[in-house]
């Protein structure tokens, strides 16, 4: 038997599994060396470091050395977000918008700012979802091999959250929702917010995105604002966003419409803000060009968004006054849990 010995600690090949580098023939892997002809696998010398407890097929651990798992770095599910919120105060920001409205782009560009240095006086202080942020940001990077930046479409994996800890004079932990646009489309079409976005009622703040793609022409602009109005209406129904919740209405992709429809969009945004406030929200509006197309267009709006996210609470959602204090309580309960 010709036996390959792998030098990479943790490679499943060491315990008879597949090559970590995915070589069909482990002999082709640069990390392996042929230890010669052996009469049985038992004769393969087993250095200490190979005693790595990878989960076996049935999920159990080998007894040689326990594998200690740490956080995946992926986006957080409900229970993980609950745990984090119980551990430290977190500001939960619901980011609402239809498919391709710019939710993921907003998250990617937010992270991207801190990859380059401190931003608006705030510095990056950590993240429980570093890997998830990096993956969201990756299609904007040169290594993606693309000619223009792109954004991964958010798959509908239920309630998911990204965590970002920022520091200035104090620290603020942001929990940012990463919900599929399909969910908000359903809310627009009349589905209950408690079914589609049950976390809405515990949002400390809310960002509603209006897709800038539709704002360029008059024919699509009116309909885009109608849909935004219906989304806000649905989100503020019973079980949804609480009255008094600070809300930022963002007309996205401003680089596409700013030069040709600025006045029209501003007027519509004003009406949408008034409507939101009638629905009990504490709303204001802004525009955003988080990832402008072209070489010379200046990014706009991100400083305003970041300042709004981190600024001190000036209002308290009315119905949250009676909520119990943080510390061990459940953040929210998914009805499916």
């Amino acid at each position: 038997v010709s036996t390959q010995l792998c030098s990479v600690e943790g490679c499943p090949l060491q315990i008879g599994g597949a090559c970590l580098e995915a070589f069909d023939d482990p002999a082709d892997c640069p990390n392996t060396s042929d230890v010669g002809l052996l009469s049985s696998v038992d004769e393969v010398p087993a250095p200490e470091s190979e005693q790595f407890g990878w989960p076996t097929v049935d999920g159990s651990q080998s007894s040689a050395s326990k594998f200690i798992a740490f956080d995946s770095g992926d986006s957080l599910g409900l229970s993980q977000a609950n745990d984090l919120r119980a551990e430290r105060p977190c500001r939960f920001i619901l980011i609402a918008g239809e498919v391709r409205a710019g939710k993921s782009t907003l998250l990617a560009q937010l992270f991207g700012k801190f990859l380059k240095g401190s931003y608006e006086g705030w510095t990056f202080a950590g993240s429980k979802t570093l890997k998830a942020f990096d993956i969201v940001h990756a299609p904007s990077r040169a290594s993606s091999g693309k000619n223009s930046p792109d954004t991964l479409r958010t798959p509908d994996e239920g309630m998911r959250f990204l965590h970002l800890r920022l520091s200035h004079a104090s620290r603020v932990d942001l929990l940012l929702s990463e919900l599929s646009g399909e969910r908000f489309k359903s809310v627009i079409n009349g589905a209950s917010v408690t079914d589609l976005a049950p976390v809405s009622s515990v949002a400390d703040r809310c960002i509603v995105l209006v897709d800038g793609d539709a704002l360029l022409s008059a024919s699509t602009r009116g309909r885009a604002f109608d849909r935004a109005r219906r989304m806000i209406g649905g989100l503020t129904e019973s079980g949804g966003i609480l009255a008094g919740t600070p809300t930022l209405l963002l007309a996205t992709k401003a680089d596409l419409w700013l030069s040709v429809a600025e006045a029209e969009v501003a007027r519509e945004m004003e009406d949408l803000t008034a409507f939101s406030n009638e629905r009990g929200l504490n709303a204001r509006s802004s525009s955003l060009a988080a990832r402008p197309v072209g070489a010379v267009v200046v990014e706009t709006g991100m400083p305003d968004v970041v300042r709004w996210m981190v600024e001190e609470d000036t209002t308290t959602p009315e119905s949250s006054i009676a909520l119990p204090q943080l510390g061990g309580r459940r953040f929210w309960q998914d009805r499916n849990e």
Binding site: P47, E48, A138, A142, S144, D150, A295
Partner: protein, 286 residues
């Protein structure tokens, strides 16, 4: 006798082994603040590291079998005796841990109980990944078409969740978060060792960090109460071994004379300064 355990961490080829060779050469030559009074471990391996350094040869890759590391009994110049434990994990150990999202129980034990960490970064091997828009702007400033940016690029492919290039700063923040979060005490001393610092030119290590790894720089500045960090620039080799003319010049100078260590502000300090900071050894001149 005080006991200190220092974890040497870093991605592959980050300069850990080279520094270990230099450290023991400096101790042997009486340079710095430490005197060796006892040693337990593979001294042959340490000698091999030192030999290669003195011959201007590239350091040997840390054998992953050397996880037992070294135990050294040391005395400082002001008479304080302490025992230093240096588990020497390979760079692959840390890289694999980030990929597999976990490590062995043995690593976990060292992480939980270590006094401090020396985290190594090779300044010549930093992976930074600029954005597509930055590349476009750069090309525009050069008068080139953005469409020429990538010969093999495509916008027709749907964006899918592949495996992105993980930049050095993201990987290191990830690693430090795990190293510090799992500790028994909520406080850690960290020496951030920028190796091959002769490649950085005339810049202070702290400034280099701010300019080249801004996310890591922010993270460390934001968490200084929990992670007491000092930045060092180390050139264990004193220059480039891969250049013939440089190599010959280096060969003619004693290793511990040609090597240098700079503190964050760029002042020359003793070769053992990163270890002393991580070990929390109180020296009047440290």
């Amino acid at each position: 006798m005080n006991r200190a355990g220092i974890l040497f961490a870093g991605l592959p080829a980050s300069g850990k082994s080279t520094y270990i060779g230099l450290l023991f050469m400096a101790i042997d030559a009486g340079k710095g603040s430490l005197r060796l009074t006892g040693f337990q471990g593979d001294f042959e391996y340490v000698n091999e590291l030192a030999d290669r350094l003195s011959k201007c040869a590239e350091a040997i890759r840390t054998d992953i079998n050397l996880v037992d590391g070294f135990n050294a009994e040391l005395v400082t110049t002001n008479g304080e005796a302490f025992a230093l434990r240096l588990p020497d994990y390979s760079g692959e150990t840390w890289k694999t841990a980030l990929e597999a999202r976990g490590w062995s129980e043995a690593v976990e034990d060292e992480v939980r109980t270590s006094t401090g960490v020396c985290l190594f970064i090779n300044v010549g091997a930093v992976i930074n990944d600029g954005t597509i828009l930055e590349a476009h702007r750069l090309m525009s400033s050069l008068g080139e078409q953005a469409d020429d940016f990538t010969a093999n690029s495509s916008d027709e492919e749907e964006a899918v969740g592949g495996t992105p290039v993980v930049t050095t700063q993201v990987a290191l923040v990830d690693l430090i978060q795990e190293l510090t979060r799992r500790r028994i005490v909520n406080y850690c001393r960290l020496s951030l060792v920028l190796s091959a610092f002769d490649l950085a030119g005339d810049i202070a290590p702290e400034k280099w960090l701010e300019l080249n790894l801004p996310l890591l720089d922010q993270f460390l500045r934001s968490n200084r109460e929990e992670i007491a960090t000092r930045v060092f620039g180390v050139s264990a080799q004193g220059g480039r071994f891969d250049r013939v003319e440089s190599k010959e010049e280096l060969r003619n100078r004693p290793t511990v004379e040609r090597a240098f260590v700079k503190d964050g502000a760029g002042r020359l300090v003793a070769i053992d300064a990163p270890v002393l900071w991580a070990a929390d050894v109180d020296l009047p001149d440290a």
